[in-house]
């Protein structure tokens, strides 16, 4: 089969404005969008620029806006997007500055990530072996540990598009992973950060994040759990 890949392109050193470019490519229904992008880059137009690495949805490099939804290019198959001869649109994720073609500046995203203290905090003396944790306590924060920091969620959030100061769902997921870890001792600091103007309260439960997450993390649910945790801590 073949499809038309319509790509939003921008070359910072040549273009004043971004523009659409369409490529007709041969493919199999089971191909990933990443395979087609690779094909174009390798054999048709090598200037096409995007990030990628693992090619199977585990490194978080290649979140893009594909057919109007945030997806990992390596985790969405052609057959789920278009029929033979159909068109697939590919754009950079929104809300972050486009550096070149499909590649955006991720620094603001990681700045928000770092702002929620995304690391284990427990200054007690360590035991000789492991700290014990029950299976239930481990399960409590399992969902958040799956996050690959791909930014698909944050850049699908209508609030984040217009208000880049919002820490965003990805950061909240990271915070959740520690807040609900029975071994961690930094909970109140994290809840305090998320209790501020740029924190959880900016979330309007739009669910785009949940639908965009390639790791099937119930992002909105985790955000709501954090909201409640902040509330119960304060009242």
């Amino acid at each position: 089969m073949h499809v038309n890949l319509k790509i939003h392109r921008f070359h910072p050193e040549q273009d004043k404005k971004a523009h659409w470019e369409t490529y007709k490519v041969e493919c199999e229904p089971g191909d990933r969008v990443l395979d087609l992008l690779n094909h174009i880059k390798w054999y048709v137009d090598p200037t096409l620029t995007y990030r990628r690495s693992c090619a199977h949805g585990i490194c978080g490099s290649d979140a893009m806006l594909i057919n109007g939804r945030n997806r990992l290019a390596c985790k969405i198959l052609i057959k789920d997007l278009a029929k033979d001869g159909g068109t697939i649109t590919v754009e950079p994720i929104r809300g972050l500055k486009v550096e070149k073609d499909l590649l955006v500046d991720m620094e603001p995203f990681f700045e928000s990530y770092r702002a929620v203290l995304p690391f284990f905090i427990n200054d007690d003396p360590v035991p000789a072996g492991e700290r014990l944790q029950t299976q239930e306590d481990r399960e409590r924060f399992d969902q958040g540990t799956k996050c690959i920091l791909c930014a698909a969620c944050t850049t699908s959030c209508p609030i984040f598009w217009v208000n880049g100061r919002y820490l965003g769902p990805a950061s909240i997921v990271q915070a959740h992973r520690f807040i609900f870890d029975s071994r961690d001792k930094g909970t109140s600091e994290r809840l305090n950060i998320l209790n501020q103007n740029t924190g959880v309260w900016r979330c309007r439960t739009a669910y785009n994040c949940t639908e965009a997450c390639p790791r099937e993390i119930p992002v909105t649910q985790l955000i709501e759990e954090v909201k409640r945790a902040v509330m119960y801590q304060q009242v």
């Binding site: 995007y50 490194c59 014990l132």
Partner: protein, 579 residues
């Protein structure tokens, strides 16, 4: 641009982050990490199954047993001093990861959960033992995330999306590196007292691989280009269970949980190849068994070129609960639900046992005796010779944390003791010239096409089974591709995010490391571990119980000089390897 750090770590995967974290615990030195990927994109994140350590949480276990399995799994080419350090230290290292917050799966008593894994046994080979500590089926992901989180916490300096182009080594002393800032196209010189290489493997030399597109053997090649040796490159592991055609890995943990390999008639064929531990035999054996089945016409599919990994007899909760990611892979990429139907699999290029030779403190070797001062290596890029001729599952993550830590500590200690060596004038000349050549637009070749030919021919000629003929052919092909590569140029002449340029550079690295690998394999006239020669099917301890050291011949292009290094024996005498 010019930077100066006491310790520089190249690579931000498990080994790089571990080195950086432990180097930065030494308050007398400044530490920075350079990585061509954002750290959390490193391929350590793809590791699924677990990290092996004899914690004995599920059943009795001892580091000696682990050491034995490692040595035996490595077909006795493993250096036993490394294996001993490793088996002891990895226990402590796993606990340290737990203390850093790594969310291991748990047993009902609250301890770290462990499961069986290929080649890990109790009482020196009697029966499989639960040794792989795991975090669901994303152990590598959790290690990478946890180490990165700790790096954020301790404020490690990162240069992300900087691709290292050259090492500055003069008079046997490493003085820094030259790197290319992908965002701006600038070449930066990093002056350092000690450099730790942790840049991962080169699976992209093969067509079907579990490795990321970015695993292109950069630092191995850069090392090799300087006339320095690469050790044991002929030992390249093909993991038995990659998703057919795509190479995406299905963890051995799937068999650890009870998955069974079946051929076209549904037969559990591993019973014939490894009667005691069957599907949990070491990877080289299982991969060969699968190839044999396919060759003898018992494969499945249109081309009869894959076999089945059958999980359907396991309860849904086990499959979805303990192997959620691979369940997701099968569903996403194959449209196969492993709960209901067997998964088509085929061996996939997976792991380099060989690499930059190092001592057990991570110091890089310039020959079988001398070291390059100030240069360290750890992780897949390195060859401490822990894995010998074949790595056991879960021993790589262990390698990262044990030897990553040792290299970091050693590098920091060294850096704290010495002063800065002088940088040569225009240290970046070589790197700049290489980029200029590619950008000048004079060549006519397309790097991507060369890579494609390389990957296909490597897959045909130097994979699970090898012969003199296939490898000689491959040497010819490589010479030709090398020649063509000289004529490559890029069409994107921009400076910012010129990924066409960085990819073209990577193709150059792949070619060089393939050259060293093929020559090493052609040279070794025996079969051992992952190196299976049809023309020399037996292990030959009399002549070949030694490490290969491949040096580029700096005068004759395409010629590789082979040297040797002794295997460190000890506790365990080489014996035939049966399971």
């Amino acid at each position: 641009m010019h930077h100066r750090y006491d310790v520089l770590v190249v690579g931000a995967g498990g080994s790089g982050l571990m080195s950086a974290l432990y180097a930065s615990k030494n308050k007398n030195v400044s530490v920075a990490v350079i990585s061509k990927l954002y750290p959390t994109r490193s391929h350590t994140g793809a590791a699924q199954g677990g990290v092996g350590a004899a914690l004995g949480n599920v059943s009795e276990d001892h580091w000696e047993w682990h050491m034995f399995d490692t040595v035996k799994g490595g077909d006795y080419l493993t250096d036993q001093d490394a294996a001993e350090v490793f088996s002891k230290d990895v226990i402590e290292a796993v606990y340290e990861l737990e203390h850093m917050g790594l969310p291991f799966s748990r047993l009902p008593n609250g301890k770290i959960a462990q499961r069986k894994f290929g080649g890990h046994t109790k009482e020196f080979g009697k029966a499989p033992v639960e040794r792989a500590c795991y975090a669901v089926d994303r152990t590598g992901h959790m290690i990478l995330q946890t180490l990165y989180q700790q790096s954020v916490k301790s404020g490690v300096t990162f240069f992300n999306e900087y691709q290292v182009l050259d090492l500055i080594i003069e008079e046997g002393i490493c003085r820094g590196v030259v790197a290319y800032d992908i965002a701006t196209g600038e070449v930066h010189t990093f002056h350092a007292k000690a450099v730790v290489l942790a840049a991962g493997g080169y699976g992209r030399a093969f067509k079907v691989t579990s490795n990321a597109q970015t695993l292109t053997g950069d630092l191995m090649s850069i090392y090799y280009r300087k006339g320095l040796p690469l050790e044991d490159l002929e030992f390249y592991q093909f993991h038995p269970t990659g998703i057919a055609k795509m190479g995406i890995l299905i963890t051995e943990g799937a068999r650890g949980e009870g998955g069974i390999l079946r051929n076209d008639s549904g037969e559990r064929f591993m019973e014939r190849y490894a009667p005691t531990i069957k599907d949990l035999a070491p990877r080289d054996m299982v991969s060969r068994a699968i190839y044999m089945e396919i060759r003898e016409g018992r494969g499945l599919g249109k081309d009869k070129d894959y076999v089945h990994l059958d999980l359907t007899h396991l309860p849904r909760e086990i499959i979805e609960g303990r192997l959620p990611d691979i369940t997701d892979f099968a569903r996403t990429y194959l449209g196969v639900d492993p709960v209901l139907a067997p998964v088509p699999i085929q061996p996939t290029a997976h792991y380099a046992m060989g690499g930059i030779p190092t001592t057990i403190d991570g110091e890089c070797l310039a020959s079988s005796t001398d070291i390059v001062r100030g240069l360290y290596a750890a992780g897949e890029v390195a060859c401490v010779s822990l894995h010998g001729a074949n790595r056991l599952g879960t021993n790589s993550l262990g390698d990262l944390i044990v030897f990553g830590r040792r290299a970091g500590v050693a590098a920091a200690k060294y850096a704290a003791e010495v002063g800065y060596e002088e940088l040569p004038a225009r240290a970046d000349n070589f790197a700049t010239a290489e980029i200029e050549r590619l950008r000048s637009g004079s060549g006519t070749e397309n790097a991507a096409r060369i890579r494609k030919e390389l990957q296909e021919t490597m897959m045909d000629n130097v994979s699970v089974f090898r012969t003199d003929e296939t490898m000689s052919t491959q040497m010819e092909i490589l010479r030709e591709l090398q020649a063509r590569y000289k004529n490559v140029s890029v069409t994107d002449t921009g400076l910012r995010y010129n990924t066409e340029l960085t990819e073209a550079l990577e193709v150059g690295y792949l070619l060089d490391v393939s050259e060293a690998m093929t020559a090493s394999a052609l040279n070794r006239r025996e079969s051992r571990g992952a190196h299976a020669r049809e023309d020399y099917p037996d292990r030959d301890d009399d002549n070949w119980l030694k490490h290969t050291m491949a040096y580029r011949n700096m005068n004759v292009p395409g010629k590789v000089n082979i040297g040797y290094k002794d295997v460190v024996l000890g506790r365990f005498e080489p014996k035939p390897r049966v399971y």
